[in-house]
């Protein structure tokens, strides 16, 4: 009796094993890929587009794209990774480039090594660099934050400047132009928040520098680029060419309402610039101003993010295959997201596509995306390190005293460096 039961059991087991093997061989890829991301106007619809394209070829693959606020994605990721419970984690997650090394170094083994899975030579250099740790590459590069100087041609013409006058300029020249604009039109040249580190980052990266040196040591007080950036910040404020804003919406409103003549920021702002339809045809884009020091170039970057696959996720290999097929292979996909969302990818083969060379009515017929993809190649590669946000906080804590002239730039940098070292030496 017992023997017969045993034989039946063995037969059943064998049957199951054999059938599962043949099953796996005979069917196409299937499973559900879960994704965490932020921004319902940018990353989410772009991911949905990518998912649709993949699902067309692989109908058995479904997607669950969860939309969260950026801070919430980061918070959830930290909590789940720190607790060691992988059940709550998605297959793919979006991580901001400035934070990439922080996650990679804080949670070793948490992200899938993609070095041999993706052809990284097809992507912009600086982008691959920031997701590399110990010679291994952990992400799939996504959008670029290549920066540019967006400006109102009507205001600048009134002040007596033509397009050529704005390309390849220094920040000193920018301030000089700004004063003229203020004088002739009464408009501010630029708007930003006094505690906003965005421009500081653009300035520094244009000079190939960061808050840290290549080895990750704090580099504030002897950092020429940073010193020059401080001077420029103060000069912009002192010269009165700035409209001071607080927070994102005021900042966007400043250029949408025509209160400022220019915006210097990442290419991802295009959608917001274009939101003001009345000013169509009055905008153009020039190269990013550079710092007045040796080695600085007229190209930089602000922001941008990339996709990462969780090592212990349920459908890891499927997720990698998906990213590889769409984000590292579908040129048509990149044309579509560029046209629909103004998303400039860092996948180089896509940049010879039709959408990239289109003339844009809004920007007075300028081929803006051809220009931006040219500038991408000139962005200096730097190591953002793992303490960018700490450094930002240290610097902008002393900044009010610099604006008011209470302390010199040298003393401020000294103070910030001391504070930053205190904070990260633990």
């Amino acid at each position: 009796m017992l023997k017969r039961k045993f034989i039946i059991l063995v037969v059943v087991c064998l049957f199951l094993v054999v059938s599962s093997i043949t099953y796996a061989e005979s069917t196409e890829k299937s499973g559900e890929i879960t994704i965490w991301s932020w921004d319902p106007n940018f990353n989410i619809p772009i991911m949905q587009e990518a998912a649709e394209r993949y699902a067309k070829d692989n109908p058995k693959v479904t997607f669950e794209i969860t939309e969260l606020a950026k801070a919430d994605v980061e918070q959830k990721l930290h909590i789940n990774l720190a607790s060691g419970v992988t059940a709550g984690l998605p297959d793919i997650v979006l991580i901001e480039d400035y934070n990439a090394q922080k996650y990679l170094q804080s949670y070793p083994g948490a992200f899938a090594d993609l070095t041999d899975k993706i052809k990284f030579s097809d992507f912009a250099n600086y982008k691959v660099g920031l997701m590399t740790l110990d010679g291994k590459v952990y992400g799939v590069p996504f959008d670029s934050g290549v920066s540019g100087l967006f400006y109102r041609t009507d205001y600048l013409e009134k002040a007596g400047y033509k397009s050529e006058d704005l390309n390849n300029i220094t920040w000193d020249k920018f301030i000089e132009i700004g004063k003229k604009v203020k004088e002739k039109t009464g408009k501010a040249m630029i708007g930003f928040g006094l505690d906003d580190g965005g421009l500081m980052r653009i300035m520094m990266q244009s000079a190939g520098k960061w808050y840290f040196d290549d080895k990750g040591n704090v580099n504030l007080s002897n950092n020429d680029a940073l010193k020059e950036a401080f001077k420029t910040y103060k000069a912009i404020v002192d010269s009165g060419i700035i409209k001071k804003t607080s927070g994102w919406s005021e900042w966007v409103a400043a250029f949408n309402n025509g209160d400022t003549a220019s915006v210097v920021t990442g290419v991802w702002i295009i959608g917001s610039v274009k939101a003001d339809k009345a000013s169509s045809g009055k905008w153009k884009v020039a190269t990013t101003p550079r710092l007045n020091i040796a080695g600085a170039v007229n190209a930089s970057n602000l922001g941008g993010s990339s996709w990462y696959v969780l090592e212990n996720s349920k459908n890891r290999d499927l997720a990698i295959d998906f990213l590889n097929q769409i984000y590292a292979g579908d040129i048509d996909f990149y044309q579509k997201i560029l046209m629909d969302r103004g998303a400039v990818g860092t996948y180089l083969p896509a940049q010879s596509g039709a959408a990239y060379s289109k003339e844009d009515e809004f920007f007075s017929g300028q081929k803006v995306y051809t220009d931006f993809s040219g500038w991408i190649k000139a962005i200096p590669t730097i190591n953002y390190g793992i303490y960018t946000y700490e450094a930002d906080a240290a610097i902008f804590t002393v900044m009010p005293d610099v604006y008011s002239g209470k302390i010199s730039i040298e003393d401020a940098l000294e103070k910030a460096e001391e504070q930053l070292k205190d904070q990260i030496n633990r």
């Binding site: 505690d195 580190g197 607080s246 994102w248 946000y389 906080a393 610097i395 205190d422 904070q423 633990r426």
Partner: protein, 304 residues
């Protein structure tokens, strides 16, 4: 049967059932409250980069005194505590006294109006304040129009004014809440005391200082301690007043709104995640709250 006999035969099984009934609550308390408290104490002896941890013993506590960012957060928090709490409690007392006066018309309406801010969402009101206090916002518009000021006040752009804005916001949100406590206590003060005082020639101001305040002392102590805890844990308001920007680097201009709780959040989620050090700062908050509460008890409590 003696009384002792009764208790022996009855209380024992009752004890058993008692323990049984509260066991669920006790287990939940243990798992969700006591365990985290003990675990975070253990955590505060670690220094971590995400899951890469190392034991540092009291190192984190020593570091607190060298960390200028922590000291700045502590300074800011204490500033809010020392300025905002007294203003708010005093205002609440005055409002409660006025609204307790039976001769005032539409008392219910005024009471509701003053209490209403306390039911609004912290985030909603902070965002509203941020809009109203922007450089070309409503407040500056009004002040400019009635010629109180000549140039707009940089409410959220200057370290000093940012603090002022936060204090105004906090006072608006919480005064009515404290007022309700005082109002309920005032109704327990017998009318005769005031009548007697009146006959003795004490005016309203004297009545307020010599009758109302001394009789409300226990409640003032209670609200003071509650407000102390609330201020020390201040989080939503500074976070939302400062959030935004392309990459807003600090909490308010020059980190002027950085509070201890926001610092704990930053240590976990914005900066390199150091849960160990964050736990240390949390313990520092607990210690400070305890210390301030003891001082308040000593200052205001009855000397029995």
């Amino acid at each position: 049967m003696t009384e002792k006999g009764i208790s022996r035969s009855f209380i024992k099984p009752r004890d058993k059932y008692g323990w049984l009934f509260i066991s669920l609550a006790l287990i939940l308390l243990g798992v969700l409250l006591f365990y985290p408290i003990v675990y975070s104490l253990y955590l505060s002896t670690m220094s971590s980069k995400g899951i890469v941890q190392k034991f540092v013993g009291f190192g984190n506590y020593v570091k607190l005194f060298q960390d200028s960012m922590f000291i700045l957060a502590l300074k800011n928090t204490l500033t809010f505590f020392l300025i905002q709490v007294p203003i708010m409690l005093f205002l609440a007392l005055i409002l409660a006294t006025i609204l307790n006066d039976k001769t005032i018309k539409y008392r219910g309406l005024f009471r509701t109006a003053f209490f209403l801010p306390a039911v609004t969402s912290l985030i909603a009101y902070t965002i509203l304040f941020k809009m109203m206090f922007s450089l070309d916002g409503f407040i500056n518009g009004v002040l400019l129009n009635v010629h109180i000021i000549n140039s707009p006040i940089p409410w959220l752009l200057d370290p000093f004014w940012a603090k002022v804005t936060l204090i105004i916001g906090l006072t608006w949100r919480w005064t009515g809440y404290n007022m309700i406590f005082y109002l309920s206590a005032l109704q327990n003060i017998p009318e005769e005391i005031y009548e007697a005082a009146k006959i003795d020639g004490a005016n309203k101001v004297k009545q307020f200082f010599y009758i109302t305040i001394p009789l409300l002392k226990p409640l003032i102590l209670f609200t003071a301690i509650m407000s102390t805890i609330g201020t020390l844990q201040l989080f939503d308001e500074p976070m939302n007043l400062s959030q935004g920007g392309v990459t807003s680097a600090t909490i308010g201009p020059g980190n002027s709104l950085l509070t201890l709780s926001v610092y704990v959040y930053n240590l976990c989620f914005k900066y390199m995640p150091n849960f160990g050090y964050a736990a240390t700062v949390s313990y520092a908050i607990v210690l400070i709250v305890a210390l301030l509460s003891i001082i308040q008890f000593k200052l205001m409590g009855d000397k029995k």
